[in-house]
């Protein structure tokens, strides 16, 4: 495994280290998704019943929020490639705001569940629902921290068309967060 992944096309966007982290996270989430599916196979009635109590609309809104934020961050990367440092900072700022919206919606959902006395130990469905969405929730927060660091540097013109690995690293991580939710939303909120 050579350190610089030489390939005839362009290299992976951003820093290779983040890609090792992204693949590890996707592996962990993938295993948890499959674990959810097989745990459900043991107790379909309970899962379906508990699933009804979820707020599917807020889940859908969150999906739209994350997809749009993924679009914004892609536009941000596109902007920095054309040396538009301020535009990039603006797009990333918009992405960050949508992340905050996601956090707000999700926090409301959690609050509603916790105040209803639902915890990780209530039943198997809620364990997976709370565990997976909280694990993802923490990743959104982490993504926002990374984005914030990049936004600050971008506003100071720290990136250019030749050197924007930092922006692409943050963007790749954020897209991963969106990718995970793209599976998580239908799996937990929709399929029954």
């Amino acid at each position: 495994m050579t350190a610089e992944a030489k390939n005839q096309h362009e290299g992976l966007p951003g820093d290779f280290a983040i890609w090792i982290f992204i693949l590890a996270e996707m592996l962990a989430f993938g295993v948890l998704f499959v674990a959810y599916a097989f745990a459900r196979a043991h107790d379909v009635a309970l899962f379906n019943a508990s699933q009804e109590t979820l707020n599917r609309t807020s889940g859908a809104i969150n999906t739209l929020v994350l997809i749009t934020s993924s679009y914004f961050v892609a536009r941000g990367v596109d902007a920095i490639k054309r040396d538009l440092s301020r535009d990039c900072a603006w797009w990333l700022g918009a992405t960050w705001l949508l992340g905050a919206v996601f956090i707000a919606i999700k926090s409301a959902e959690f609050h509603e569940k916790f105040s209803a006395g639902i915890t990780l130990s209530t039943n198997s469905f809620y364990m997976f629902y709370l565990a997976l969405t909280f694990f993802h929730f923490m990743h959104v927060l982490m993504g926002m921290i990374i984005l914030a660091v990049v936004i600050v540097k971008a506003r100071r013109g720290g990136y250019g068309s030749r050197d924007h690995a930092g922006v692409e690293t943050a963007a790749s991580f954020w897209h991963m967060v969106d990718l995970l939710w793209i599976i998580l939303f239908p799996l937990i909120y929709v399929i029954r």
Partner: protein, 458 residues
């Protein structure tokens, strides 16, 4: 030896190997007691021999880690150790405290030892691996603080490399998590919950940082590969270690009364724990293949590669065998656990400490590497010890399977002692492998005294 103060590491390495021999002797005593129940009874009952075996293991590994740190920190930070005198004082305090504790185990009934050493003030004794009396635990904290003070002062003054940073993070983590050994609530579930913060977050957390840092240092020295490449992969490996190991603690929380969700979290994240060990093996072989110099110390290179492979085998593969909750339900508390324990401790921590000793000792004695004759003997000791520990692991795995089959999985489970008799054949074979291990260890010690023409000092 670039810095005079690196000589401080020598007594630590000698003490480490000495205590290692003691550990193996008591291991053999216990191995025989498994098949001849009243061997040395009542002079040394099994539980006393076990305490000495496990405590000597941990103490000699700590000596090895401290010796390694005293050797590599001056070289990494490019300045003399802050206070070699303090290091020697710490050495004697730790050695005397350890020796007194072992003497206390052997010659004083444990309950009396508890009376004398303030267990009534703060009860911390009587738990696996943490059997040390209160005063010894306090002594360990003092030794750790003075050691960390010495290392950190040296680090602050000198060059800060990633290797020394990761090593010091691991050592500080080791000291911090040891403090949980003072917490011993009456609630058994809480007691066990935080007991694992000492044991698991050591050997599947911060100790892996120490392991990674020492291995990276030795690989830079013996392969001459660019430091930037090695330190980059060191960070990736220790990142994978912590992101899987921290939540991996869950695989100890299945059956001790903690909530049921730990069965999911513990299984998933501990199943990922072999990944950093796999990466470490790839990393070690890759670096050696891309080496830019032929280092005369072939034995140290063999130990470094052995560390990668055996750590992956012992901690990775044998760990994964019984980490998933549905499997662990049957293997928990059987010989399967003991088999994983042996190969994991040897493959990961014994091997890396010996890698460092094999690399550093010749230099401390004024030559780049031992003579070829000595190195051949040392390589023999590597294969004798490694193969015999693998056989110990295989025999204990077989005993574990017998135990699971007869006592746990069957509809008509047999009583514990009856099952132990059924597995006696494997315990005999394990004892034989243990004797070969001791021969291998003595061969290793002998390799230091074999003369012959040697290369000039590095």
């Amino acid at each position: 030896m670039q810095y005079k103060s690196q000589a401080v590491a020598k007594p630590y390495f000698i003490a480490a190997i000495g205590l290692f021999i003691g550990q193996i002797v008591f291991g053999l005593v216990m191995g025989l007691q498994y098949v001849v129940g009243d061997f040395l009874f009542p002079a040394i009952p099994f539980n006393i021999a076990r305490m000495v075996h496990t405590n000597l293991l941990i103490v000699w590994l700590l000596f090895g880690f401290m010796g390694s740190a005293y050797y590599l920190i001056p070289e990494e930070t490019e300045n003399e150790l802050y206070s070699p005198k303090l290091a020697i004082i710490t050495f004697w305090i730790f050695l005397v405290a350890g020796a007194l504790t072992v003497v206390g185990y052997l010659f004083v009934p444990y309950s009396t030892l508890a009376e004398w050493t303030g267990n009534n003030i703060l009860a911390t004794m009587g738990r696996e691996f943490l059997e040390q009396p209160l005063i010894t635990k306090v002594g360990i904290v003092i030794v750790a603080l003075s050691f960390l003070f010495n290392i950190c002062m040296t680090l602050l003054k000198g060059r800060k490399t990633s290797i020394s940073l990761v090593l010091v993070l691991g050592l500080v983590g080791l000291a911090v998590f040891f403090l949980f050994s003072f917490y011993n609530p009456t609630n058994l579930v809480l007691d066990k919950y935080y007991w694992w913060w000492v044991v698991h977050l050591w050997v599947e957390g911060v100790w892996e940082l120490i392991l990674g840092a020492i291995l990276a240092f030795v690989l830079i020295k013996v392969t001459g590969v660019d430091r930037e490449v090695i330190e980059k992969w060191l960070y990736v490996i220790v990142t994978m270690t912590l992101i899987t190991g921290i939540l991996g603690t869950g695989h100890h929380y299945y059956w001790i009364g903690a909530p049921e969700y730990w069965q999911w979290w513990g299984s998933v994240f501990s199943a990922l724990e072999p990944i950093p060990f796999f990466m470490m093996t790839i990393f070690a072989f890759n670096m050696v293949n891309r080496r830019r110099r032929e280092h005369p110390n072939k034995a140290a290179v063999l130990w470094a590669l052995g560390t990668g492979v055996l750590a992956f085998l012992g901690a990775g593969v044998w760990g994964f065998l019984h980490t998933l909750a549905p499997v662990n339900y049957y293997t928990h508390g059987t010989q399967m656990t003991a088999s994983h324990g042996h190969l994991a401790f040897y493959g990961a921590y014994v091997c890396v400490v010996i890698t460092m000793i094999s690399y550093a000792m010749p230099i401390l004695r004024g030559r780049a590497a031992n003579s070829n004759k000595a190195q051949v003997v040392e390589m023999w000791s590597f294969w004798l010890m490694s193969v015999s520990i693998v056989f110990i692991t295989l025999f204990l795995t077989a005993a574990g399977i017998v135990q699971v089959w007869l006592q746990r999985y069957s509809d008509a489970p047999m009583a514990f002692m009856a099952v132990q008799d059924k597995a006696a054949i494997f315990y005999w074979m394990r004892e034989g492998a243990g004797v070969i291990f001791l021969i291998g260890l003595l061969t290793y010690v002998a390799s230091f005294f074999i003369k012959g023409e040697t290369k000039a000092a590095a």
